[in-house]
């Protein structure tokens, strides 16, 4: 990283005013969120593998190096623990680092820094040191990725006290939640569903959606609540659409935040429909769905007409591209699972 005390590129940027609505991919929305945050707050810095001139392997940081320069956007050496560890030191000194783990499975070398320091620093220092770091992790599959490029690692992070774990499912949330994550004084694991990077929406930036910590009912229904997040929101919505043919009214919840979990919104929906299933790509055993099912059961047992189901990836490593269609939960598989309930 080179310092340019007097030659910062900030002068070339403008404060983000409301811009006319335009179709935008999730990747572009994330890019805009980082850019706007960097314009608003000079303490925001960005680094990671290939995030500089290349703009990241998914182009999420496209153009930022050119706009902000080496001082604020830089390619780091290729070492994930090093990226997180140095981000911690920068945050102690007052910067707000936004760092990228190139792919889900390549965040594992940084596990110790994230779990032992990022998550614990505020607590172990009795609130004296805070680490406003955003760790962006492209995750999940359905992109025909080779081995180690399609993991869903959310349960590791979500079960770690001290971390905030969020995942947008659409471009508007991508922008809004990333702005909120960067502004947060808590460290945030920001999980980006790779298969949704190229999904498009009409956005008038700077768009603001519901608070990052809340779940949202994205489709109302009366018979079943499908609880999804990130890549499976699309699957759940498709399932709900298909179910109308069978006269089944499905409510779909986009969790958005995995930690914290929005008990109020989800429990209200489950009490209304009395049936719920949680859908994720990650393996089932010890997965995030287990927590969802357990806490909803504890809180709403007497409102339930059926056990809460988990429709998830199998308990196997993520398969090769030609086999991933068998692994991923599909609307058919979800409907079949709902059909195993006794319907009276």
């Amino acid at each position: 990283m080179t310092s340019h005390s007097s030659t910062t590129h900030e002068s070339s940027t403008t404060a983000p005013a409301t811009r006319p609505a335009a179709p935008m991919t999730m990747a572009a929305a994330l890019n805009a969120a980082i850019r706007d945050a960097m314009v608003d707050d000079s303490s925001v810095v960005l680094f990671g593998e290939d995030v500089g001139p290349l703009g990241g392997v998914f182009r999420v940081t496209d153009g930022l190096y050119a706009e902000f320069g080496e001082t604020r956007v830089s390619d780091s050496p290729l070492a994930e623990s090093g990226i997180i560890g140095t981000a911690i030191g920068m945050a102690i000194y007052g910067l707000r680092p936004v760092v990228e783990m190139q792919f889900d499975a390549f965040s594992y070398p940084a596990f110790e820094q994230i779990v032992s320091h990022v998550a614990k620093m505020r607590n172990r220092t009795r609130g004296k040191i805070q680490l406003p770091i955003v760790i962006r992790i492209p995750y999940a599959g359905d992109i025909g990725g080779v081995e180690h490029h399609s993991d869903s690692s959310e349960a590791y992070w979500a079960s770690t006290p001290g971390l905030t774990v969020v995942t947008p499912s659409n471009p508007a949330d991508a922008y809004s939640m990333l702005r909120e994550a960067i502004a947060s004084d808590d460290p945030v694991i920001f999980m980006e569903p790779k298969s949704r990077y190229w999904s498009k929406a009409e956005l008038a930036l700077p768009v603001r959606t519901a608070p990052m910590s809340t779940a949202v009912v994205v489709r109302e229904g009366t018979d079943v609540t499908l609880i999804a997040y990130g890549p499976t929101v699309k699957t759940a919505l498709a399932t709900a659409e298909l179910a109308t043919e069978e006269g089944l009214s499905i409510e779909v919840i986009d969790l958005r935040s995995l930690s914290p979990f929005d008990d109020a919104t989800v429990s209200a929906s489950v009490r209304k429909t009395s049936r719920a299933a949680v859908i994720h790509e990650a393996a089932q055993f010890g997965g995030y769905g287990a927590e969802v099912a357990a806490r909803l059961t504890e809180r709403n047992f007497y409102y339930l007409s059926a056990p809460i189901l988990r429709i998830t990836g199998f308990d196997i490593p993520y398969p090769s591209p030609k086999l991933e269609e068998y692994f991923l939960p599909t609307p058919d598989r979800i409907l079949a699972a709902l059909g195993t309930w006794e319907w009276s």
């Binding site: 810095v45 780091s76 090093g82 140095t86 009795r126």
Partner: protein
């Protein structure tokens, strides 16, 4: 810098791996004599008043260390990793820094905290088991003592880089153990620092053991300092029991970092005189005769001989230093009599900046449970009375 113990990127002076380990740089020898300037690697012996100051701080630090070890043996502290015998490294590190520089210490380095001004009760908070860490980081510019090995080295590199990005002149110094240099984070830190030319100093205290494991089971190269060349930064192999040499080299490295010259790796060759912690049993893995050899190389005695020989350490000085050390020991014992009561509900306070409903519920649950227990206890006391 043609000396064997000063590695640089200069190809002519690059180390040859088949060479025997060099002797470490020293400015004052075991017998307390200043070495010939021709053997001083271009480093000047610090002035007598500086050496006297280092001596005073080493004596005071040792008194603290011995006191805390005693308290631990009495079972009054959960644990304490002693730095007995490593005072030259610890004190040289702190003395080389300005107040606005940052120190990134490990569990081993409590006397460095003490020397930088952290009150004994704040140092002992973690060892007493009150909270995981207990001092004012921003006041003292000291990061929390790190236990996950070598992780703090990356934090130091990050902070130093942030200082550079902001155009400040803050330097970061991190302390590492010899065993910790085997960790991936140590290598990542060395490499990031060199690539980013971060104003950071890595000071490895080679006390020759990682708990029970000797250095030859950690690495196959001559010295830890040799590794620096692989990353593109200078490495210095220094007698870690010679505070004069340690101070001269660390200060030079800190100056280099401050002036834009990038990172340095310094290895101080020393010895861990005590057990790893109170729960360790060193008789299972090392000979007490080795320990005795190193007792003969004591860093404080060595400097004392020198200072007496040049007439700087008078009886009056000595008495003053002893008094200061004893006062500190008394204050340390005294702080143990005060029991810090931490409200268990504070457990929920510092996990997140943003309040969470679930944590508030758990805090209320614990509060209720405590209240019920207290009510039950009061009732029992009432009945027996």
């Amino acid at each position: 810098m043609p000396h064997d113990y000063v590695m640089s990127l200069n190809v002519e002076s690059a180390p040859v791996l088949t060479q025997a380990a060099p002797t470490p740089l020293r400015l004052i020898d075991d017998a307390g004599r200043a070495v010939d300037p021709s053997e001083a690697g271009g480093f000047a012996l610090p002035a007598p008043d500086i050496l006297l100051g280092l001596y005073r701080r080493m004596v005071v630090a040792r008194r603290f260390d011995v006191q805390v070890t005693a308290l631990t043996r009495q079972g009054r502290l959960a644990t304490y990793p002693s730095a007995l015998g490593q005072e030259a490294c610890e004190i040289a590190a702190v003395a080389s820094l300005r107040t606005d520089d940052w120190l990134f210490p490990t569990y081993r380095d409590s006397i460095a905290l003490l020397t930088r001004g952290v009150p004994p009760e704040d140092i002992l908070a973690s060892f007493r088991g009150e909270w995981h860490s207990g001092y004012d980081y921003y006041q003292h510019k000291i990061a929390p003592q790190a236990t996950p090995l070598a992780t703090q080295a990356l934090h130091a590199v990050g902070l130093a880089t942030a200082s550079k990005l902001k155009g400040d002149h803050t330097v970061a110094l991190t302390l590492l153990g010899d065993g910790a240099t085997s960790e991936g984070d140590a290598h990542e830190a060395f490499n990031f620092a060199a690539v980013w030319q971060a104003p950071v100093v890595f000071l490895v205290q080679n006390n020759q053991f990682a708990i029970s494991v000797p250095l030859d089971k950690q690495m196959a190269c001559r010295t830890i300092a040799d590794k620096a060349i692989g990353y593109g930064m200078p490495g210095y192999f220094v007698d870690g029991n010679d505070v004069a040499a340690m101070y001269a080299v660390v200060s030079a490295a800190v100056d280099t970092a401050r002036n834009g010259g990038g990172p340095s790796l310094i290895e101080g060759l020393t010895y861990r005189m005590e057990a790893h912690t109170n729960s360790d049993d060193p008789t299972r893995y090392r000979d007490s005769s080795d320990v005795e050899v190193w007792r003969g190389r004591d860093p404080i005695e060595r400097l004392e001989k020198y200072l007496v020989s040049v007439g700087v350490l008078t009886d009056g000085e000595r008495a003053g230093i002893t008094r200061e050390a004893e006062e500190l020991a008394a204050a340390t014992r005294e702080c143990m009599t005060k029991t810090a009561v931490i409200d268990p509900l504070e457990l929920f306070e510092h996990v997140y900046a943003t309040p969470r409903t679930a944590l508030a519920e758990q805090r209320d649950f614990l509060a209720n449970e405590i209240a019920e227990h207290e009510a039950a206890a009061a009732k029992t006391t009432g009945e027996t009375a």
